[in-house]
């Protein structure tokens, strides 16, 4: 075969040359056959006799030492990704191979998932522990379609997801059949309404710049998912020895801080207030968030309501008054909302009866201050931005980044009279906090020995088993009836990661595995209270945890139902005066009850259950903790009360 004299070889010119040379050399059938051609059944192709005397095709024309995807891995490594989390797909086969061979499967290490929703949700949980994204990959069409739920949750949760999708943009280069089904003109269109930025680089230098830009955009508050499309030809294009490509420097954007004047005004209002209330939702973007919020609260001696979008405030701090939220909001004269996902819903009550109604729960004349990065960037199609709130001062900024200047502004406005008033207020709040804690414990005692097991008992038993460890609760806020948040002592940044954001069921189990993956190198015991319905969306993530030896303790809150929806259907039946005993149709997961212990064991977990006797729960959890400490994920299936 005539060799090309070009020093730069790309696939197109190679194929043209090969086609032209085909008439000069009779290519043996075994080389000519394309992998996708259907073969007659029962016929094994054999090498023809004349192949022994024919000159073989040049090996150089079928292999290359370096490809575009190798350079992509160079860029990926420059971004510092620890893991690439993905379900494999042919549209990124080049990148996949480069990651595991050229990149030696290190930084990032390939984490195999059984569903793209799992890989995105794993990356979501990971990011909230590590404070940075993991790399995720998805097949350009069907893989990305699977992934959309996870991307939407992360978007609503304002979490960084970094996703590269494979695609075959050149129609003349697609293999017939499946590759056409898996190709799309505009890959990111399906998720553009709930991602922050996307691009389709058409050259390797373009890829490098866009990769850096995507990372920077994802990590600038408000953080959101970003998508980069890696065309298959760009991945698989050979790179000659002489080709060099530049990797741009990555410089992260400083998070936006609040306007100086507005911050000073906020400080003035808070200092002057007799009953200020601080309400925190997604303040804790880094460990500094909790530290700053504690300082602000202590400076003002103001109660904090933690809405648990992140780990915002220590649970047993005397200024934590999350349990008294309703009363405090009703009595407040100034309310400061910090990265609230739903300020309107926080200060209004809404009744879901036949005729819906709402009314403010704040007192007349109460002033509302909002500090949120959400005001900097929003999209319109999906309505996660909640209802418009009439606030008195709106500061468009990252709350955590703004807190230091707000604290300083508050301190500058303090005088002895206000300090004295604050001290008096603080004493009363400390007493009320203690009373609230006692009240929570009294409430937890109801149904203590009941079967199904109460969520209070479940949470208390679990706390008893893990309180001496360096633990991290990687569940959603509502898991286990929120008893963990009410009973446990949270005082470290990584001990809680908030929820899914979009409330899309199926987030819980993979996010827990992803967070546990991040916790692993820190030696933390990751603990998950796992809802049964959530796990059934994509239980294959259990295999991922076992395969990659991700230590995680999952205690099931198994109420045998999609219980939220069960209550909704019950409401409808009641409203219509019919079928009030039929709401379980289409909502419960019974008959048979799923054996989650066997399910987990089948995928390599240590597992016990179902536990129905509360007296057996503590010992079972202890055994599971021991398994996790040995490096194996463990699950305890608990037959639980509904909420």
């Amino acid at each position: 075969m005539a060799k090309s004299k070009k020093t730069t070889v790309d696939r197109r010119s190679f194929l043209k040359t090969a086609a032209g040379a085909a008439g000069l050399v009779a290519i043996p059938p075994v080389i000519q056959a394309r992998p996708d051609d259907p073969k007659p059944r029962g016929v094994t192709p054999i090498m023809p006799k004349d192949a022994e005397v024919r000159e073989p095709a040049s090996v150089e024309s079928l292999t290359t030492n370096r490809t575009g995807s190798d350079f992509m891995v160079d860029v990926i490594k420059a971004l510092g990704f620890e893991y690439v989390i993905a379900n494999p797909g042919s549209s990124f086969r080049g990148l996949h191979e480069s990651l595991i061979n050229y990149g030696d499967n290190k930084n990032p290490e390939f984490i195999t998932c059984c569903h793209e929703e799992s890989s995105i949700a794993m990356a979501h949980g990971y990011a909230k522990i590590e404070g940075k994204p993991a790399l995720t990959l998805a097949h350009g069409t069907v893989g990305l379609q699977h992934a959309t739920m996870g991307i939407y949750n992360a978007f609503c949760d304002r979490a960084p997801i970094y996703l590269i999708v494979g695609n075959s943009i050149d129609a003349t280069m697609r293999r017939p059949g499946v590759e056409w089904d898996h190709s799309v003109q505009d890959s990111a269109a399906i998720v553009r309404d709930f991602t922050k930025w996307d691009d389709l680089p058409i050259s390797l230098p373009h890829f490098a710049e866009s990769a850096m830009r995507a990372y920077k955009i994802a990590m600038t508050p408000p953080m959101m998912p970003v998508v980069l499309v890696a065309d298959s030809e760009l991945q698989e294009r050979p790179i000659s020895d002489g080709e060099k490509f530049h990797i741009p420097k990555m410089t992260l954007t400083s998070p936006p801080q609040g306007d100086t004047g507005a911050v000073a005004e906020a400080a003035r209002m808070l200092v002057a207030a007799e009953n200020p209330v601080l309400i925190a939702d997604r303040v804790g973007r880094t460990p500094a968030g909790m530290t700053h919020l504690v300082e602000l609260a202590e400076t003002l001696q103001a109660p904090v309501i933690d809405k648990a979008g992140r780990m915002n405030f220590p649970s047993r701090h005397p200024l934590n008054h999350s349990a008294r939220a309703g009363r405090l909001i009703a009595g407040a004269d100034v309310l400061l909302g910090l990265e609230l996902t739903d300020f309107w819903g926080t200060v209004n009550s809404f009744t879901d009866q036949l005729h819906r109604s709402s009314k403010p729960i704040t007192r007349a004349g109460a002033k509302l201050i909002s500090i949120t990065s959400g005001d900097l960037y929003d999209k319109s199609n999906y309505q996660d931005f909640q209802r418009y709130t009439e606030v008195d001062l709106a500061i468009a900024a990252d709350a955590e980044a703004t807190l230091p200047s707000l604290i300083e502004a508050v301190k500058m406005q303090l005088n002895n009279d206000r300090k004295s008033a604050f001290a008096d207020r603080g004493q009363k709040l400390a007493t009320a906090h203690h009373q609230a804690i006692e009240h929570v414990r009294e409430e937890a005692a109801y149904g203590w020995d009941a079967s199904p097991i109460t969520t209070a008992r479940l949470s208390a038993e679990l706390w008893n088993a893990i309180k001496g460890e360096d633990w991290s609760l990687v569940s959603e806020p509502g898991a286990g009836g929120e008893w963990a948040l009410r009973l446990w002592n949270f005082d470290k940044y990584y001990q809680f990661i908030g929820g899914s954001g979009g409330a899309g069921v199926g987030y819980g189990s993979p996010a827990a595995v992803g967070a546990a993956l991040a916790n692993r190198k820190h030696g933390r015991l990751s603990v998950n209270i796992q809802n049964d319905g959530d796990l059934m969306y994509a239980p294959g993530v259990l295999w991922t945890a076992a395969h990659h030896q991700i230590p995680l303790l999952s205690v099931m809150h198994n109420n045998h139902a999609y219980h939220q929806e069960l209550m909704h259907i019950q409401r409808m039946a009641n409203r219509h005066n019919r079928g009030i005993d039929r709401a379980t149709i289409g909502t419960t997961i019974t008959d048979p009850n799923i054996d989650f212990a066997k399910l987990a064991q089948s995928m390599g977990w240590y597992a016990e259950g179902p536990i129905t006797d509360p007296k057996e729960l503590g010992p079972s959890i202890q055994r599971a903790v021991a398994a996790v400490k040995r490096g194996q994920p463990a699950l305890v299936d608990v037959s639980s009360q509904p909420r």
Partner: protein, 226 residues
């Protein structure tokens, strides 16, 4: 896709009502401690002239007490207060210095005399015994329909409450109050009309809730003293 966002609002509202009921329930069960400040408030209000029930009725309406305590003060999200369960002094404290979720009413909002009038009005509303429904409940049947009618979904199988519904065992309000509330709930609870749940069914459920034993004291549960 599942309507979790709306459900989240539902849960948040129910949670706030949950704490309101529980905290007020603490007051009505006499668990309020009387501090020096409370004694001062009680003494001050006690110096007011004897209450006028007609004026008290107007106060009850103007201050919107019925939104929590029911239009006839028989309870709702808040407990039964007609008649008030304690003395005048205790009533003053529960208005001025509530320990639960009830908002405090200062003397700028409700004067001492108005509290006395309100107390007089509530005392005219008859005793719980007179208001009692005469139905006798069947606890075994009540347990069965407590599940089949879906009550357990929010309140738990033993009425212990949870994130979606308040604790109702032991029942903090009278059978009459329960019946009135489930027919015309003022909060998030869906209505159970007599068309789908008869008065006898309600009595049976009430009997079941009354049959549920009280929990052990918290001090006897080591896991709750960590």
């Amino acid at each position: 896709m599942i309507d979790q966002k709306r459900s989240g609002v539902l849960i948040a509202r129910v949670i706030s009502r949950f704490f309101l009921l529980m905290a007020i329930g603490v007051v009505i069960l006499g668990q309020t401690s009387v501090s020096a400040q409370n004694q001062k408030a009680a003494a001050k209000a006690g110096a007011a002239a004897p209450g006028n029930s007609d004026n008290g009725k107007m106060v009850f309406t103007s201050q919107n007490c019925g939104s929590c305590h029911g239009a006839d003060a028989q309870g709702g999200v808040g407990p039964l207060i007609g008649p008030p369960p304690g003395t005048m002094a205790q009533f003053v404290v529960s208005v001025r210095q509530p320990t639960g979720q009830m908002p405090a009413y200062s003397d700028k909002q409700v004067s001492d005399q108005e509290i006395a009038d309100l107390y007089a009005y509530l005392k005219t509303m008859g005793s719980p015994a007179q208001a009692a429904v005469t139905l006798t409940g069947n606890a075994a049947h009540g347990k069965q329909i407590f599940t089949s009618y879906g009550c357990y979904q929010c309140h738990g199988y033993v009425g212990q409450g949870g994130a979606a519904g308040v604790r109702i065992a032991p029942p903090p309000i009278s059978l009459k109050a329960v019946m009135a509330y489930i027919r015309q709930p003022t909060g998030q609870m869906p209505p159970y009309t007599s068309k789908v749940v008869s008065d006898q069914d309600v009595a049976d459920i009430y009997a079941y809730l009354q049959s549920i034993p009280a929990p052990p004291p918290v001090k006897d549960i080591p896991l709750l003293n960590q």
